[in-house]
């Protein structure tokens, strides 16, 4: 009886669109030019939001903001695979997801301006509030998936988080439950290589984050997170599997946080400009542009136009946001609980 092998596992990486914008035709998802243009324009929109948010923050018109630059493909690609009935549990760095799903732009600005009212998800979307507490929303996604299964709703649930979140106890407890109950949930980790100043190598000794799924008895896959097609495919497959009772999937999107952690951070303190430059060269938008250009449906003009449309959307949204009346003090009590206690009522009256 020598040591007997009782199980073997493989972790794979999916990529379709390479850095030069050349796609593997065999793997390429069926997407019309129109759909690809939509992806492209959403990525531009996300980038435009980022740039505008940074500018507003510098001018003191916005609070702390966590830019997504570099992660547009991971966010737009995955969100494009989500259906309106699906439930989405974002972290705090998913502007691209919010925008792709149609969350009102002005409200995203409003939230980051320190106004809770930005969190009111429109009725036609099932997006949970931004979750700043890293990884702690993962069990909520799991619970929603349990409830959806109980209700026999033919939907799936998606949770987004970062590489840092994989170290949290709630990641583990949530993943484990998802496995045990074989729930219709897709976990999307944007491994952007950093959790503030902690590189992923110091976050875990695992060679990939995808392999963490082995611990929970379901599939984990790594995708090139700057490849919008691979992200889209992996997410679509996982969502279909989830809706078809095939259980959860963990998708690790390898990407990079090109900007500072937030406007309160200075990434220069902990990482080299060479590293950043190398990743800038792998820009997901550029890559898609190259693909579209090679396929003949991108031109300088179109790019310029699309950018200026994105920018105009921002003008409009910022205008709208700045037109929102400031919240009243009593607003603190508005949603504190369904009905106020006598003490709370007195406190509200006393404001």
């Amino acid at each position: 009886m020598p040591n007997e092998v009782i199980a073997e596992f493989k972790v794979t990486r999916m990529s379709i669109l390479d850095e030069n914008g050349i796609a593997d035709v065999a793997l390429m998802p069926e997407l019309s030019h129109e759909e690809i243009r939509k992806m492209y324009e959403l990525m531009l929109l996300a980038r435009a939001f980022d740039q505008r948010a940074l500018a507003l923050q510098r001018e003191g018109r916005l609070g702390t903001y966590p830019p997504i630059m570099g992660q547009e493909a991971a966010q737009v690609g995955s969100a494009m695979a989500i259906k309106p009935a699906d439930w989405v549990f974002p972290s705090f760095r998913e502007t691209g997801v919010h925008l792709s799903l149609g969350y009102p732009i002005a409200q995203i600005f409003q939230y980051w301006s320190g106004d809770e009212r930005g969190q009111l998800t429109p009725d036609n979307l099932n997006i949970f509030p931004f979750c700043v507490s890293v990884g702690t929303h993962i069990p909520h996604a799991v619970g929603a998936a349990m409830a959806a299964r109980y209700r026999r709703d033919p939907i799936a649930v998606v949770a987004y988080f970062g590489d840092g979140a994989t170290s949290k106890g709630d990641f583990h407890e949530g993943f484990n439950m998802a496995g045990v109950f074989r729930l219709p949930v897709v976990f999307i980790c944007q491994n952007n290589q950093w959790a503030i100043s902690i590189p992923v190598k110091e976050q875990t000794a695992a060679a990939s984050l995808a392999q963490k799924a082995v611990a929970y008895g379901f599939e984990g896959i790594q995708v090139d997170g700057n490849d919008v097609f691979a992200v889209y495919c992996a997410t679509r497959n996982a969502l279909e599997k989830a809706r078809g009772n095939g259980g959860p999937t963990f998708i690790e999107c390898l990407t990079y946080r090109v900007a500072d952690h937030t406007t309160a951070d200075d990434a220069g303190r902990y990482r080299s400009s060479e590293e950043v430059a190398a990743w800038r060269a792998r820009d997901p938008i550029l890559r898609l542009e190259r693909f579209m250009a090679a396929q003949g449906f991108w031109s300088e003009d179109y790019g310029r136009e699309a950018r200026s449309r994105a920018s105009a959307s921002m003008d409009e949204a910022v205008h709208e946001m700045e037109g929102f009346p400031p919240p009243a003090a009593a607003d603190m009590f508005e949603h504190a609980c369904a009905s106020l206690s006598p003490r709370q009522t007195r406190q509200q009256e006393g404001l």
Binding site: W87, T136, G143, A148, G169, D170, N176, P342
Partner: protein
């Protein structure tokens, strides 16, 4: 009408409400096949199936977190934490999420969640099986905290908790689980959340207690003319009833089995000191456990407030 103990009364409440409302699901460690380590959920799995009576992995934070997601989706989960001593790792989920979901989502998502947990000392169980840390949860806006003092209120409070649109922490005094039998009607009656109950009336002093201490207080005060207030809802607590009684008696003694410092007794005393000071004739005394970790079984009777300590406090305030 049947005489039930508290285990049976809570079980009955769950059973009736599950029959009435298919949104109610029960979840936790050993709640299903085993019927809960105290048998509070006994028979529910057989009756309502494994989909509604869910045995979970050993994950306190995950249980409360998943229940929060279920509640947001539209169910009405009842999550069990096997003993209050294991609830601390779920505090983040309760405090940063369950309690705030309504606020954070501006009312779009709510968290009608009941977290049940056996609490309190006196059963000579291992470490962390006899905790009474209700004050921590009373300091979290957005959660209600309740503690029944007998089978009748146990059922009424459970039904009220199950109908409440916000998270309710439901504390089950283990010492009372099988100690008291009371008439517990079948069918619906709600013990209103936020309302205390006058368990006994008198003239000279107000004694405030809840959970397993009520029984002890009622015995201790027999020779006195005391208002005894059974708080029932610990947060938000019924200040009006407390203040009205204290204004009448001029004296207040608060009894709880948690440690003294920053216990719920402090809030009650502070409220009296703020709003009824002119009516006070005596110091507001607290009879509590000492400020030490809950000891193991051999010392637990020295830890818990005794009838003698309660009487000593009454005698002291009655001197004024």
């Amino acid at each position: 009408m049947a005489k039930l103990n508290m285990v049976q009364a809570i079980n009955l409440a769950l059973r009736e409400e599950m029959a009435r409302d298919d949104r109610v699901v029960v979840m936790g460690e050993d709640v299903g096949r085993d019927g809960g380590v105290f048998r509070v959920t006994e028979g529910l799995r057989e009756h309502f199936g494994a989909e509604r009576v869910i045995d979970t992995p050993l994950s306190e934070s995950g249980i409360v977190g998943a229940a929060t997601g279920m509640a947001a989706y539209g169910l009405r989960p009842v999550a069990e934490i096997q003993f209050m001593g294991f609830i601390y790792s779920a505090l983040d989920q309760l405090s940063a999420h369950g309690a705030r979901l309504r606020t954070r989502s501006r009312g779009r998502y709510t968290c009608p969640l009941v977290v049940r947990t056996p609490y309190g000392a006196g059963i000579k169980a291992p470490e962390l099986h006899e905790e009474s840390s209700e004050a921590i949860f009373c300091h979290i806006p957005g959660i209600k905290v309740v503690a029944p003092s007998g089978p009748y209120t146990a059922k009424g409070l459970m039904l009220a908790a199950l109908r409440d649109p916000d998270p309710v922490l439901y504390l089950e005094p283990t010492r009372l689980y099988r100690l008291i039998r009371e008439e517990v009607p079948e069918g619906e009656y709600l013990t209103e959340l936020g309302r205390a109950r006058l368990a006994r009336t008198g003239d000279n002093v107000t004694v405030i207690a809840w959970g397993s201490m009520l029984e002890r207080v009622l015995k201790a005060v027999e020779p006195y003319s005391a208002d005894v207030i059974d708080l029932l809802t610990l947060s938000p607590f019924d200040a009006e009833t407390v203040l009205a009684s204290v204004r009448k008696t001029g004296r207040a003694v608060i009894v709880h089995e948690a440690i003294k410092t920053c216990g719920l007794g402090a809030e009650i005393a502070a409220t009296i000191a703020e709003d009824a000071i002119l009516h006070l004739r005596a110091p507001v005394l607290r009879v509590t456990a000492p400020d030490v970790p809950v000891p193991l079984g051999k010392l637990i009777d020295h830890y818990l407030p005794t009838a003698e300590q309660i009487r000593a406090a009454l005698d002291e305030v009655l001197q004024y």
